[in-house]
Symmetry: C3
Subunit: 272 residues, 3 copies
């Protein structure tokens, strides 16, 4: 697979797992326009690649992501209307990227260490599986700066519910890994670098035991709940079920189950 | 009350509580088409019976329900189109049944022991009150078999939220009773067969202290949140409130309160 | 600021924080029509006052609010149609008030002690930040009286999700402060009167560190999630972000951040 050239990201593929590392450690991996565009391009480039089973997001040098890097907007050089337009685009494009990653057919994993703030929290909130280090620090500091958590709001509400989103967005409270798991930001809590890597291995092993197309169909279905009307959703779900059971993966999966062997897609798996 | 003949269910009525026991222990109570149809028929048959205050679902011989029993579909004998159609119907009819039970006017209770998997988890997710044994095992194993958790997806998302649904559906992780309570699948955790029966007694005693028609109206209202527009919902809620307060139950309930006695519907109640 | 005359409320303003105390202790602060109307009037009167940063709701003499005070309806004097109409209005007006307070631009704080029942629970459920005393008692007792938790249903479901709302509304179970925090009714648990006051001080200090207009814009956005369509919401969010960053608060907030000083709106703040 040939990925687009990236300046702000490190990319790595290992046995079907693509790892995207946000790589602006001098800014605690704050996202500028280029970084956001690069994530969008990379994720879209693997959209039809079922050989890529998962995308792991993490940050370079101990922080996940400290938010949007407003300093990179170069606001001084332009007239007022142009600056307003650039500000709008800078903000909006981030929401487009998060919307796209949320709907990626692959399983999205987030490894959350250090700062997970503002836009970084938004990105964490669309992961299918999130692992939080106990020392990670989650916050929406925006209103303390006179600005707002704009593009991330719907993803935070979908993640932790309105009740907790109100407190975190309006008070700007910082929460650690343990509280993040309690609030539902993350699924797994780890207590050291080693434990985080081990948990990541466990998760990717599980991912390799799952059928890729069935995974993509399941994810689409979950994200359509509340968007598509109930009976129409269940009709579409029955379509997808029938296609899956009668397709290659369903035939192989049920045969492997009867024969008490691993299905072909799980051959490198040592989890389960 | 005369119930329809059932092959796959055991039925019992005790002082207003109907217990439906899934009774295919050789398959860990996996649901075939007949079992699904029988649940539908029984639940519909008591739809207008306010003497039935609650329906308790449980499984025979230590398991709640291990999912859908695909083996019962008899796929070999028919041509391809017929098989596809049968598969679709087999799947879809389960969603229709769960949708119906979700909207039953009675309080639905689930006693969750052993396997609570796939479709069994879906059925658990529409209970109003769920009790989980610490050794119960909850999972959506579908994508490991190349298929998908199709009809249950919306009920799982409504039950535990998108965040936890993503992890459980996409990784197929098994969780025990304690984690099920933490995730919101169940309300009460018990540590032995005896404790589960005692908790069930406590719950049914509470149920007998509640007015049946007010219960049905309340349940309808809760299930309409997010479906009916906010102001219209509150208008309908005020209609229902007025009817309840001025109806037999409201008159009896408020009179009993003032007179410090139990209302007529709670006469056999020893809870509260 | 001149507030409307209130008979059922105590009002206090301290450095931008308006405290509204429900003051019918002989009825454990049960809400009659007048009290509901007074809350509505007071909250609407500060709607455009950005000098009022937060509204704290609490109850006089150790209880928050025991629900709606039906006894105040004066039902005897009128004919049947008039009584039905008055009952409907009594109920519906409460839902209008809660809907308005939910959308107030200020941060709503609830200090929850003693009885938090029925309508009192509904009011608690639209707070942005709720502090619960360990001995507080939360319940929806309605169906035990033959009536229904009508106007509060959507707010309870939005607060704690359908799963927990089903159990609490249908069984009428009482839960204490610790369980209320676990279920997401409240954010903070306190163990004494002193601790509750201290936590309240911490919360109001945080509130003073937040920019008022950014707060109002953020709150509006959070409440529009699930109401406004996703892409339209993100477009509006980018509008609000651009206005905030380029407005007075955004300029002051980002300048203060660079200059490592407190922004002007946080001058009296000793939190952060």
């Amino acid at each position: 697979m040939i990925f687009p050239d990236c300046q702000e990201l490190l990319l790595d593929v290992d046995d079907g797992i693509l790892t995207i590392t946000l790589n602006r450690p001098h800014k605690r991996n704050a996202m500028n326009s280029r970084l956001v565009a690069e994530i969008m391009t990379v994720v879209e480039s693997v959209q039809d690649e079922s050989s890529i089973r998962a995308i792991v997001f993490r940050g370079a040098e101990g922080n996940f992501c400290s938010g949007g890097d407003i300093s990179g907007m170069n606001l001084e050089q332009a007239d007022d209307d142009l600056v307003a337009k650039a500000t709008w685009e800078f903000n909006r494009v981030f929401g487009r990227m998060v919307t796209t990653v949320n709907r990626a057919p692959q399983i999205i994993v987030a490894a959350l260490e250090g700062a997970v703030m503002g836009g970084g929290l938004g990105l964490a909130c669309i992961s299918d599986v999130a692992i939080a280090d106990e020392n990670a620090m989650f916050a929406m500091p925006e209103t303390g700066l006179g600005i707002i958590p704009a593009q991330i709001a719907p993803f935070v509400v979908a993640r932790i519910g309105l009740t907790h989103a109100r407190r975190l967005a309006l008070l700007g409270d910082r929460v650690d890994g343990e509280e993040a798991v309690r609030l539902g930001i993350a699924h797994f809590l780890t207590h050291s670098k080693e434990e985080l890597e081990a948990q990541l291995q466990k998760v990717t092993a599980r991912i390799r035991s799952r059928a890729p197309n069935a995974t993509a169909a399941t994810k689409r279905l979950l994200l359509d709940v509340g968007v598509v009307e109930h009976e129409a959703l269940l009709d579409a779900a029955a379509d997808a079920f029938t296609a899956a059971l009668r397709g290659e993966e369903g035939q192989e999966g049920t045969a492997a189950f009867v024969q008490k062997r691993k299905p072909c897609w799980a051959e490198s798996d040592d989890g389960e």
